[in-house]
C-alpha cells in the first residue's frame, strides 16, 4: 500500500514531498496530544500534589471553605459504581452479543436489535441522566426501602434508602456500557472459525453445548477485553452519574446511599472553583486519567492479543 520503491526518479519524485511532511506532522501531533494532556493536567495539579501528597488519596474530607481536600469517597464510588455496572451489564451484553451472532430469530429482527444497540450507544449521556431522574430514581427509592427493610443486615445493603444513590448510578452506567460489551464480544464471537462450530455439531452437541463449551471459551479473551474496556468507560462516564449519584462528599458503604465519583466531582465543582480548589480538582482529574488510561491499555493489549490469536480479525 505504501509507495513502491521502483518508482522512476522523475521530476516529481525528485522534488520534496511536502504533503508527506504535513501528514507526518499530523500523525506526530496525535502522539504528542496524549502526552500534552497528561502533562498539562499534571502541571496544574502540581501545587495540590505538593501540598497533599498521598494523603489526598486516603483522606475523606472535601471542604473547599477550609482548603481541605481528599478523594477517598470518590475513589470508592468510582470503583464500586463501575464494578456494579459491569456485573449488571455483562450478562445482558453477552446475551445481546449471542443474539446478534447466532440465528435464534430471523435476520430482520437481529438487524432491528443491532439498530437499537446502536441507538443506545448514540444517546447523549445527559439525556440518560434526565431519563434516570424520572424513572430510576423513584424505582430505586421504592424497591430500595423494601430491600433495606428485609435485608438491611447484609453488608452494603443497609439503609436508609435514597433515590439518588450508588445503585441508581450503576444502573444507568450498566445501560451505557452495554453497547461496548455487546459490540466487542460480538466481534470476537463472529471471528471464531466456522469449522469449530461445525465440528461440535458433528459430534452431536446441542446449540448451547456448542456455545458454552466451544464458542464462549474460544471467545473468552475477547469478552474479557470487552469487560475491561467497558470498565474503563464506566469510570470516566460523567454526566448521567453526576445527575443521579447524589453527590455526597461523605464516605458511605451502602449502595442505597448517595455517593460520588471522581468524574462527577469534576463536573460539579470545576465551574465555581478558585485557587487551591482548581489544583485539587486537577489532581483528581490526574488520578482519573491514570485509572482510565491504565485500564484501557490493559484492555487494548488483551484485545490485540486475542486478535493475533484469531489470526488478524477486524
Amino acid at each position: 500500500m505504501s509507495a513502491p520503491a521502483f518508482i522512476p526518479k522523475n521530476r516529481y519524485r525528485r522534488r520534496r514531498d511536502y504533503f508527506r511532511c504535513f501528514c507526518w506532522i499530523a500523525a506526530v501531533i496525535i502522539i504528542f496530544l496524549l502526552g500534552l494532556i497528561i502533562d498539562e493536567i499534571f502541571t496544574k495539579a502540581l501545587p495540590a500534589i505538593r501540598h497533599f501528597g498521598w494523603h489526598f488519596l486516603t483522606s475523606s474530607e472535601w471542604r473547599p471553605n477550609r482548603d481541605l481536600y481528599g478523594v477517598l469517597p470518590m475513589l470508592f464510588g468510582t470503583a464500586v459504581s463501575s464494578l456494579l455496572a459491569l456485573l449488571l451489564a455483562l450478562p445482558l451484553g453477552l446475551a445481546v452479543a449471542l443474539f446478534l451472532s447466532e440465528n435464534f430469530l430471523p435476520r430482520p429482527l437481529r438487524q432491528l436489535m443491532r439498530m437499537i444497540v446502536e441507538m443506545l450507544a448514540a444517546t447523549p449521556s445527559v439525556v440518560y441522566g434526565l431519563w434516570g431522574i424520572f424513572t430510576l430514581v423513584p424505582l430505586v427509592q421504592h424497591y430500595g426501602e423494601i430491600v433495606v427493610h428485609h435485608c438491611g443486615w447484609i453488608p452494603f445493603l443497609h439503609g436508609p434508602a435514597y433515590g439518588n444513590s450508588l445503585l441508581t448510578a450503576s444502573l444507568v452506567l450498566a445501560l451505557m456500557v452495554l453497547p461496548t460489551i455487546a459490540a466487542i464480544s460480538r466481534a470476537s464471537l463472529v471471528a471464531i472459525p466456522e469449522t469449530l462450530r461445525e465440528g461440535a455439531y458433528a459430534l452431536g452437541a446441542t446449540r448451547w453445548e456448542t456455545i458454552t463449551r466451544v464458542l464462549l471459551p474460544y471467545a473468552a479473551p475477547g469478552i474479557v477485553a470487552a469487560s475491561i474496556l467497558a470498565f474503563g468507560r464506566a469510570m470516566g462516564e460523567t454526566m448521567a452519574v453526576a445527575m443521579l449519584i447524589g453527590n455526597s462528599q461523605r464516605l458511605t458503604l451502602s449502595i442505597f446511599s448517595p455517593s460520588n465519583t471522581l468524574s462527577a466531582l469534576l463536573a460539579n465543582q470545576f465551574s465555581e472553583a478558585e485557587g487551591l480548589q482548581i489544583n485539587a480538582l486537577m489532581y483528581a482529574a490526574f488520578i482519573l486519567i491514570l485509572l482510565t488510561l491504565g485500564t484501557n491499555i490493559i484492555g487494548e493489549l488483551v484485545l490485540r492479543r486475542t486478535q493475533r490469536a484469531l489470526g488478524g480479525g477486524s
Binding site: S2, A3, P4, I7, P8, N10, Y12, D17, R20, C23, W24, A26, A27, I29, I30, I31, L33, L34, L36, I37, E40, T43, K44, P91, L92, A95, E102, I116, M119, L120, A122, T123, P124, S125, V126, V127, G129, L130, W131, I133, T135, T206, R207, E209, G236, T238, M239, M243, S263, A267, F270, S271, L281, M282, A285, I289, T292, T295, N296, E300
Partner: protein, 296 residues
C-alpha cells in the same frame, strides 16, 4: 448444510440415553429463551426513554423554542435558540480543529507508512484517546484555554470537543482509506504517478464517502457531549456575539434545567432533549443514507 434426517427408531436409544437427551434438549430450549428474553430486556429502557422524550418533550415543542432565549428560573415562555446556535458553533470549531489533523494523520498511517513503528504508535495512542473520559478533555481545555485567556468561551468548548473527535476521525478515515483496493494504487503508480498524485487523485476521491460518514458520526457524538463544554463554555442566557465569551449549549441547558425545582424548566429540559436526540440521530441516519451505499 442441512442433512435430511428421519427420526431414529424408538429402540435406537436406551431408556437412560433418552432421559439425558431430553434434559439436554430442554436446557437448550431454556437457554435460548433466556438469551432472547435478556436481549429484549434491553429494549425496555430504550422504549421508556423514547416514550418519555415524546410524551414530555412534545408539548412545549413550538417553532418559537428555536428562536427565543431561555427563560430565567421560575418564569414561563422562551426557548433555547442560543443553545442550538451554541452547540452548532462549538461542534463547528471542533470539526475545523480536528478534521485536518485527523485526516492528514490517517493519510500518513495508511498511505505513506502503513507498516512503520510510528504508525503502530499513532494507532495505539488514537485507541487510547478514544478511551479518555470526556470530562478529562474538558479539564484539559480548561487548563489550556480558559486559564490562559481568563474566561469561559466557545473556543475553549470547541477545543475540548475537538480532542474528543480527533481519534474517531483518524480511525474512521484510516478504515476508509484501507477500504480502497490496492490495485487502484498499483495502477496509478504503474502509470507513473507520484505518491501525492496517487493519494490526491485516486485514493482520496474513492475514500471520501466513507470518510465523510466517519466525520458525521464524530460530529453527532460531539453534539451530544456535555462534560467537555460544562466548564469550558459554561452557559449563557444571551445570544453569543463572539466565540470568546461564555456560550450556551443544548446539553448544558438540559443539565442545568433538570436540576431546577420548577416544572416548566424541567419540561423545557425534556423538549431540549428531544431536539438534541433528534439532531444526533438525524445526523447518524443522514450519514448512513448519504454515504453507506458506496462504503459497503
Amino acid at each position: 448444510m442441512m442433512i435430511p434426517h428421519s427420526n431414529p427408531p424408538h429402540h435406537f436409544f436406551s431408556n437412560h440415553e433418552k432421559k439425558t437427551s431430553f434434559l439436554r434438549l430442554w436446557s437448550n430450549q431454556l437457554l435460548t429463551t433466556l438469551c432472547v428474553l435478556f436481549s429484549f430486556f434491553t429494549l425496555v429502557p430504550l422504549f421508556s426513554l423514547l416514550y418519555l422524550l415524546i410524551h414530555k418533550g412534545l408539548p412545549l415543542l413550538h417553532f418559537s423554542v428555536f428562536t427565543k432565549l431561555p427563560p430565567p428560573p421560575g418564569l414561563h415562555g422562551g426557548g433555547f435558540g442560543n443553545a442550538i446556535i451554541g452547540t452548532i458553533t462549538m461542534v463547528g470549531i471542533a470539526t475545523l480543529l480536528s478534521a485536518p489533523i485527523g485526516i492528514l494523520g490517517a493519510i500518513y498511517i495508511s498511505e505513506y507508512a502503513p507498516h512503520s513503528s510510528l504508525t503502530a504508535t499513532v494507532r495505539f495512542i488514537a485507541k487510547l484517546l478514544t478511551g479518555i473520559p470526556s470530562i478529562i478533555c474538558g479539564a484539559f481545555a480548561f487548563a489550556l484555554v480558559v486559564l490562559h485567556t481568563g474566561q469561559f468561551s466557545a473556543l475553549a468548548g470547541g477545543a475540548a470537543l475537538s480532542i474528543l473527535m480527533l481519534p474517531t476521525i483518524l480511525l474512521t478515515s484510516e478504515q476508509a482509506l484501507m477500504g480502497v483496493p490496492s490495485s487502484y494504487r498499483d495502477a496509478s503508480y504503474g502509470l507513473g504517478a507520484t505518491p501525492f498524485q496517487t493519494i490526491w487523485r485516486i485514493v482520496l476521491p474513492e475514500a471520501l464517502p466513507a470518510m465523510m460518514m466517519g466525520m458525521m458520526l464524530a460530529v453527532a457524538r460531539a453534539a451530544g457531549e456535555t462534560a467537555p463544554v460544562l466548564f469550558t463554555a459554561l452557559f449563557s442566557q444571551q445570544w453569543a456575539s463572539s466565540i470568546m465569551e461564555p456560550t450556551a449549549s443544548l446539553s448544558v441547558l438540559i443539565y442545568n434545567f433538570s436540576a431546577l425545582p420548577y416544572h416548566y424548566q424541567v419540561q423545557m429540559a425534556w423538549t431540549a432533549s428531544l431536539v438534541l436526540v433528534a439532531m444526533v440521530t438525524g445526523t447518524n441516519i443522514l450519514a448512513q443514507l448519504l454515504f453507506r451505499r458506496k462504503f459497503q
